[in-house]
Symmetry: C2
Subunit: 441 residues, 2 copies
C-alpha cells in the first residue's frame, strides 16, 4: 500500500528518503498500444511505473470499424487497463486526464473528477497519447461526420447507420428516403476501405428481410478519396485490387476528388452535391494536445518531432511514442499503425530500464515493418509485405488469424472468434443497438 | 412495399377501399415481453400489425443487473425488434415515441426524429409500455440514485460502480475513500437482492489484485428495505434464507427502515446518515405516461385499471398489458414480472384474432404463476412455486437454465451461457468499461 504518488503528502516522509534511495518514477501517459508496450518493457525494472489514461480501458483499434458496423460489442475489443496490468506489481494505474506538463520541474498536472487537480512528479515521462480525428481546419464538419477513434465514436456511427434505415422507412418523400439510404465515407485509407466493405455486407445480407417498405440492399455507399487511388499508402497493384473488390460489393469508389463541404444535407465533393444523411470521416487525424505541452517542435498535425532515440530534444527523460510522435526513418515517416506503436513503446521501455541501470543506449530506434493488411467485406483481404503482395480468401484467413491472436486478452480472442464465426455463417450481426437517447438525424 | 401506415397519403387510395375490405390494423405500443407476445399471437391473423417502440431493441430485463455489474454486454441481453419480427410478414416495426392517443377517433400520435409527427389510425390498440423508476414524489433523488430499467441505466450504474473504485484510489482522505467504497441499494426486491449479490462478488473476486492502494473487498454494500424483510413478495422462509445468504456474502441488510434523503453525500435512512458515493435505486416503479393518455382510470403509480379481459372500459378495442396494466385476480394484483407480461400479451393477441373472426371471447384472463426466483451471488438462488420452496446450488442451476432458455435469440443464449461459464470459472467479468465521457461523481 506504499505510494508517493501524491506530492501533497507530509514532507517528513519525503525528507527521510534521500534522492539516491528514492525509486525512480516513470510516468506513462496513454494506455494504447505504445503506452502498454512501454509499461510491459519495464516489468523487471526497479522503477515505479505510473500508467495514466483518461479511459479505464485499452482499445484494440484495428477492429473499431466492426463495432461501428454492429459485428462486435464494445467490450469485445476492449480490456480494463487495470486487469491487463494486474500482474505487474510495479505499475499503478490512474484514471485521469493530463492538463499540463512542466518539463523544467518534471511534473505533470492531472485532473480526475471535478476540480481535483494533482501534480505528479516524474523522472521519466513517456507520452503515448495517440491521435484523434482532424478535419483539416474544418471543425464544423465534425458535427455531421463523426470520425472513428474511440468506442464512443464507434457507437455513434453504429447508431447513425442503423438509424438511417429507420428514418428511411418512415418517410414518404422519395428524395429524403434516398438521402437516408446514402452513406458517404470520406477517406479511403484502411479504415475507410474496411468500413465501406463491412457496411456493404450489412446492407446486403444482415438487414435483408428486416424491412417491408424499403430494400436495404439498394443503399448507396460512396467512398471518396482525395488521392489518386484507395489505400494510397499501399502499392499501386494492391490499391487496384482493393478498388475492384469494393466495386464488386457495390461500393462506389471516387478518387482524386476533394470534399469541399459537409453539412446537414450531405457533402459537396468535386463541385457536386451528394445528398446523404450519414457522412463518416475516415480521412485525417491529428495528435492530442499533450505533445504541444512539452514545448518542443511539432509537425503540421501536432505530433512531436523526436530524435532517433524517440527523445524530445532539450527535455531530458521525456519520450514520445506511437501516433503522437513524428518519427523519421530513411527519410520516410514511420506510419501511424499499431505495430509501429508497439515497437516504439517497447524500445523506450527498454531504453529507460538500461539508463536506470547506468548503461548507455547507443542503438537508435529501428522500425521493422511486418507488413500491412486491409480486409474488404467477407472472404477478401489485401496484404503487402516488402515485395510480397497477396489478396483474396487465404489473405483474409491470415488477416483474421493475425487479428485474433493480437487481441489483448484470451477472453477477447475467444469472443471475437465466436462472433466472426456467427456472422460468417448466419450473416447476422450481434450488436444492432441504437442506444437511448437515440441519435437519429 | 404496400402500406397504409401514413394517414397523409392521397385520399383516393383510401376511398377506393370500402370499410369492409380494408385490413384491420392492430397497433402495439412497446416491444417488451408483453408487446412481443401480443404481436406473435397475431402471426396467423389477417390483421396488419404495427409494432412501435422508442428503442430499436427488445431487452431481456431479468438480466439487466448483470449488465450493471459488468458480467454481460448490453447486446448480449438485447435483440433488434426488427430481427425478432423479420419472419412475421404481417408486422411492421416503427421506431417512434408516442405523444398522444385519441381514443375517440382511434388514432395515436407518434414522433420520430425532430419535428416529424404523424397520426396513425388503429382498429385495435395494445398498450405495453411498461414501467420506469419512480421515486415516490422525490424526483430529486433521481440525480443521485439511478434506477435500473434500460440498457442506458445499466451502463450508468456500471460506470458509477467501477468509477467509485477509481476515485477511491485517487483520494488521500480516508473518509472520502470510505465514502467511495460504500454502495447503498435502496429496495430489496429481486433487483436489489440480485444486484447486491453480484456487487459483492465483483468486489471480492473480480477486482482482487487490480488495485495496489485499496482493497476492493473492503467495500461496504448496504441493502436498505422499507418492509420488514428482503424479497417482501416472497414467502417468509424464503426471505430469511435470502437475507442469510446476503449477510454471508458481506452485504449489510437493513430492513424496516425508510430512506429519507438521497443527496450528493449519500443517504439518510432511519435518521442516520450513511456517506456513500454510489446509491442505486431498486425500489419503486411507475407506469410510463401512455396509460394516462387513454383517459381511463389509473392506479397510484399510473397503471391503467383494466377489466378481466384486459380491456380499457369505455374505449372499445383498447387493451393494456404487462407492467403498464393493473390487473386484479382473486383480489390480488397480478405481479409485474416477465411471465405475467407474456401471458397477458398472448391473451390479448389471441382475443383480437378471435374478435376479427367474429367470435366472442368469454374467458377472462387468468394468470398462471409458474413460480418466482432470485439469484444471490454465485451458486445460490431461491425459488418458490406454490407450496414448493427451495434454495441453494441446485436452485441456482435451475435459475441459470430457465434464464438461458428464455433469452430472445439463439445467439443471445449461446453468448450469455459462455459469459457465465467464463465468469464462473475465472471470476473475471467481461465488460468492465467506463464509457466516455466518463461518469465519475
Amino acid at each position: 500500500m506504499s505510494s508517493n504518488l501524491q506530492e501533497q503528502r507530509p514532507r517528513v516522509a519525503e525528507a527521510v528518503r534521500s534522492q539516491a534511495e528514492r525509486r525512480k518514477r516513470v510516468v506513462i501517459v496513454g494506455g494504447g498500444f505504445a503506452g502498454l508496450a512501454a509499461a510491459r518493457a519495464l516489468r523487471k525494472s526497479d522503477a515505479e511505473v505510473v500508467l495514466i489514461d483518461r479511459r479505464n480501458h485499452h482499445i484494440f483499434q484495428p477492429l473499431l470499424y466492426q463495432v461501428a458496423t454492429a459485428i462486435l460489442s464494445p467490450a469485445e475489443i476492449a480490456a480494463p487497463i487495470r486487469q491487463l496490468e494486474a500482474k505487474q506489481r510495479n505499475v499503478s494505474v490512474l484514471l485521469s486526464e493530463i492538463t499540463g506538463v512542466d518539463v523544467a520541474s518534471r511534473t505533470i498536472e492531472a485532473v480526475s473528477s471535478g476540480a481535483d487537480v494533482r501534480q505528479i512528479a516524474f523522472d521519466y515521462l513517456v507520452v503515448a497519447t495517440g491521435v484523434r480525428p482532424s478535419y483539416f481546419g474544418h471543425d464544423e464538419f465534425a458535427r455531421y461526420a463523426p470520425g472513428l477513434k474511440s468506442l464512443t465514436d464507434a457507437e455513434t456511427i453504429r447508431a447513425k447507420i442503423l438509424g438511417a434505415f429507420e428514418l428511411a422507412v418512415m418517410t414518404e418523400d422519395e428524395r429524403e428516403r434516398a438521402r437516408q439510404m446514402t452513406f458517404v465515407l470520406v477517406g479511403a485509407g484502411p479504415t475507410g476501405v474496411e468500413l465501406a466493405g463491412s457496411l456493404a455486407h450489412l446492407t446486403k445480407v444482415t438487414l435483408r428481410g428486416n424491412f417491408h417498405r424499403i430494400d436495404p440492399a439498394k443503399a448507396s455507399i460512396i467512398l471518396i478519396e482525395g488521392a489518386k487511388r484507395v489505400l494510397p499508402t499501399f502499392a499501386e497493384s494492391v490499391s487496384r485490387k482493393a478498388a475492384g473488390r469494393l466495386e464488386k460489393l457495390g461500393v462506389k469508389v471516387v478518387t482524386d476528388v476533394r470534399v469541399e463541404t459537409i453539412d446537414d444535407k450531405g457533402v459537396i465533393a468535386g463541385g457536386n452535391r451528394i445528398p446523404s444523411a450519414t457522412v463518416l470521416w475516415t480521412a485525417g487525424v491529428a495528435a492530442s494536445p499533450i505533445p504541444k505541452m512539452l514545448g518542443t517542435k511539432t509537425d503540421r498535425v501536432g505530433r512531436a518531432l523526436v530524435d532517433p532515440f524517440l527523445k524530445v530534444v532539450d527535455a531530458p527523460g521525456v519520450f514520445v511514442v506511437g501516433d503522437a510522435a513524428s518519427v523519421m526513418q530513411n527519410g520516410h515517416p514511420v506510419p501511424g499503425v499499431a505495430q509501429a506503436a508497439i515497437q516504439e513503446g517497447r524500445y523506450v521501455g527498454r531504453l529507460i530500464e538500461k539508463e536506470l541501470k547506468g548503461r548507455q543506449v547507443e542503438r537508435p530506434f529501428r522500425y521493422f515493418d511486418k507488413g500491412n493488411m486491409a480486409v474488404i467485406g467477407k472472404n477478401y483481404a489485401v496484404l503487402e509485405r516488402g515485395w510480397l503482395h497477396t489478396s483474396g480468401f487465404l489473405t483474409w484467413l491470415v488477416w483474421a488469424f493475425v487479428h485474433i491472436l493480437s487481441l489483448p486478452q484470451l477472453q477477447n480472442r475467444l469472443r471475437v472468434q465466436r462472433q466472426w464465426l456467427w456472422t460468417y455463417f448466419t450473416g447476422q450481426r450481434s450488436s444492432r443497438l441504437i442506444p437511448e437517447p437515440r441519435i437519429l438525424t
